[in-house]
């Protein structure tokens, strides 16, 4: 599906986020640009500590207290989320965007039944306002049915501790879709689950998003997952988007040295040994390298990369890459 950027429902522009600590500011996000079209499934791929979660937390404004946003805008239907008043923001949170967190066990409160927690979600959303208890319950039962859990009535009365990891993740998905939302942010849902269960969770999530016509931002560290789940992928490194393209194009024609390195590092089912990996590690956010943040690990880096920060540039068909070397060649 090709979506015009003008139809975007979420548009992040030049977002910077810093964390204040004793050692100074950890300059984590360094100008993130990202947009999501209506009904589009977008992947945000990057390794641990690259700022994926920080980006999404900024969208919902649930950053920790020591975070500051020195620069940037997040447009949701043309309005800047960062400047919204609490009431308006609440409306976005309860009606517009929902988020599925990484750890299903931590996202559910162990001392309340699944029912209590789901009813609250419905009650505080717009579609639940003024509804009777029976109607709310009906909605919850329907949502649980949609994530293929048998016997929803029993589930509503059980506590999170009584459910398996896969079930809890499904409940989290059910809670995210129980009321109508436009955009679903899934932050590595169920990374701790086993492959056979993860596979089921992913299939379910994709099916639901497609059925309901929602947009999806899938945060993941796995290129494989992104390939199976999304229409378009953003590759993130050290607080920058380094490459974005439609999923098929990205795997056919990866351009940024980081994307290439990442792709090479994935062990293949076809065999052929293990690649070398990428030299070095993610930079220190307190004193990030000047110029391109990837240059100390890059095989191609030259003088210009060390001095100047490359910006995302289109190299054709919406395939954008932030690398002087690649931009120079094409």
């Amino acid at each position: 599906m090709i979506v015009n950027k003008n139809d975007s429902i979420l548009n992040i522009k030049d977002l910077h986020v810093h964390y204040r600590t004793y050692d100074g500011f950890a300059k984590v996000l360094d100008g993130v640009n990202l947009w999501v079209g209506k009904g589009e499934k977008v992947g945000l791929v990057g390794e641990a500590g690259c700022g994926k979660t920080t980006t999404m937390r900024t969208v919902l404004r649930i950053l920790p207290e020591n975070a500051v946003v020195p620069k940037g805008e997040i447009f949701y239907h043309g309005e800047d989320i960062l400047k919204m008043k609490p009431q308006k923001l609440n409306k976005v949170r309860t009606q517009g965007i929902s988020m599925i967190f990484q750890e299903p066990a931590a996202a559910l409160n162990p001392v309340f039944t699944i029912g209590t927690q789901m009813f609250d979600v419905i009650r505080y959303s717009d579609s639940g306002k003024g509804r009777s208890k029976e109607e709310i319950k009906e909605l919850a039962v329907k949502a649980i049915g949609e994530v293929y859990i048998p016997d929803p009535e029993r589930i509503l009365n059980s506590y999170p501790g009584q459910l398996s990891g896969g079930m809890k993740q499904r409940i989290c998905i059910a809670m995210a879709i129980v009321t109508e939302r436009e955009l679903l942010i899934a932050d590595e849902p169920g990374t701790s689950l086993d492959v056979t269960i993860l596979d089921q969770v992913h299939r379910l999530l994709r099916g639901l998003v497609e059925k309901k016509g929602m947009s999806l931002i899938m945060i993941t560290h796995s290129l494989g997952v992104a390939r199976e789940m999304t229409d378009r992928i953003y590759v993130m490194y050290a607080g920058n988007i380094v490459e974005t393209a439609e999923t098929k194009e990205l795997f056919k024609n990866p351009l940024h040295p980081y994307t290439l390195g990442l792709l090479e590092s994935v062990p293949r089912l076809t065999g052929g040994g293990v690649a070398e990996g990428i030299y070095g590690r993610i930079p220190d956010y307190f004193s990030p390298p000047k110029g391109c943040r990837f240059h100390p690990r890059c095989r191609l880096s030259e003088e210009k990369c060390r001095e100047e920060k490359p910006l995302l540039k289109d190299v054709g068909d919406g395939h954008q890459v932030a690398c002087f070397k690649v931009q120079g060649v094409i």
Binding site: R20, T21, Y22, D23, G24, A26, P64, S287
Partner: protein, 305 residues
């Protein structure tokens, strides 16, 4: 919040002294995030300092002992006697400062004995978790914990001769089990950590495991508790001396001063109020400082060594 922004330079191999220095600075930063901790620290420093140099700073050092001046007995607080004088005409301010000496001495000694005993037993019980030794140590600990602490101290202090040493023995006896409990919980969980398993599988001896692997991981809650406990020991000490089981007159003790003053309430109210305030401020100071130490020991996100 007004935090100065420092840009962090690249830190190559640091020399030892620099590392220590930056460690101190960082600990201070964490400690001082909460201004109340700093207030607590200042209170504690003032108390400790004034106790040490009591003879040099108090206006009437000789009032701390056997001294009678009926001419000035029961003077209300004034420029000459800041906190007033007692029924013998002794300066309350001087006596409070001197009383800090006994109180701090007691707290230091009680903790110096109770903490190692409690920690050692907790470590042993935690390491031998599930064995007979664990059961014996922890049940004995439970027995001590089940007796109301003040009652136990009172009983012991009453059986023995009433003086500061025996009061300290009494408090020590009731204090160690808390550390055993604390360390036991830490040790049992640390014992199952993978780094302990790894050392065991390498073939490390028991002493190494207990003292080099487990103990260092229990230290921060121990220190936090110790800082808080100084205040509580002083309070218990004051309670004992209130009922006459601590330091004996004429040596001043806070509890004993409060107790003496009650007989002259409400006319000589300063005899009770100022020693009571001294107790309250002391405990407050150590508690606030304890909170700061806890913050200092805590690991935060984006925390670097």
């Amino acid at each position: 919040m007004n935090i100065s922004v420092q840009s962090k330079q690249e830190v190559p191999a640091l020399s030892f002294s620099v590392r220590v220095k930056s460690g101190v600075k960082k600990n201070w930063y964490k400690f001082s995030r909460n201004k109340l901790s700093v207030v607590g620290l200042i209170i504690v420093l003032i108390i400790v300092f004034s106790a040490i140099f009591a003879p040099l700073i108090v206006p009437y050092p000789h009032h701390a002992g056997k001294f009678v001046d009926y001419a000035n007995a029961g003077t209300a607080p004034c420029a000459e006697y800041w906190f007033g004088t007692d029924n013998f005409g002794r300066d309350i301010f001087s006596r409070i400062i001197f009383a800090f000496r006994g109180a701090l001495y007691m707290a230091a000694l009680v903790l110096a004995i109770a903490v190692p005993i409690g920690v050692f037993l907790g470590l042993i019980a935690g390491y031998y978790q599930g064995t007979f030794l664990d059961t014996v140590i922890m049940r004995v600990t439970d027995i001590f914990l089940s007796v109301p602490p003040l009652l136990l101290a009172l009983a012991i202090a009453a059986v023995l001769k009433p003086n500061l040493t025996n009061a300290m023995i009494a408090v020590t006896v009731m204090w160690w089990p808390w550390y055993t409990r604390l360390v036991y919980g830490m040790a049992t969980s640390t014992r199952n950590e993978y780094f302990v398993k790894a050392s065991e599988l390498i073939g490390a001896g028991r002493l190494h495991i207990i003292f080099r692997e487990i103990l260092p991981n229990c230290l921060s809650p121990i220190f936090t508790k110790m800082a808080l406990d100084v205040g509580w020991v002083i309070l218990i000490g004051a309670s004992l001396s209130f009922v006459g089981l601590g330091e004996q007159p004429p040596t001043p003790a806070l509890g004993q001063m409060v107790s003496d003053g009650t007989r002259y309430m409400p006319d000589l109210w300063w005899m009770t109020v100022f020693p009571s305030l001294a107790i309250a401020v002391t405990i407050l100071g150590f508690n606030l400082m304890g909170d700061g130490i806890r913050d200092m020991m805590a690991k935060g996100e984006y925390d670097r060594e």
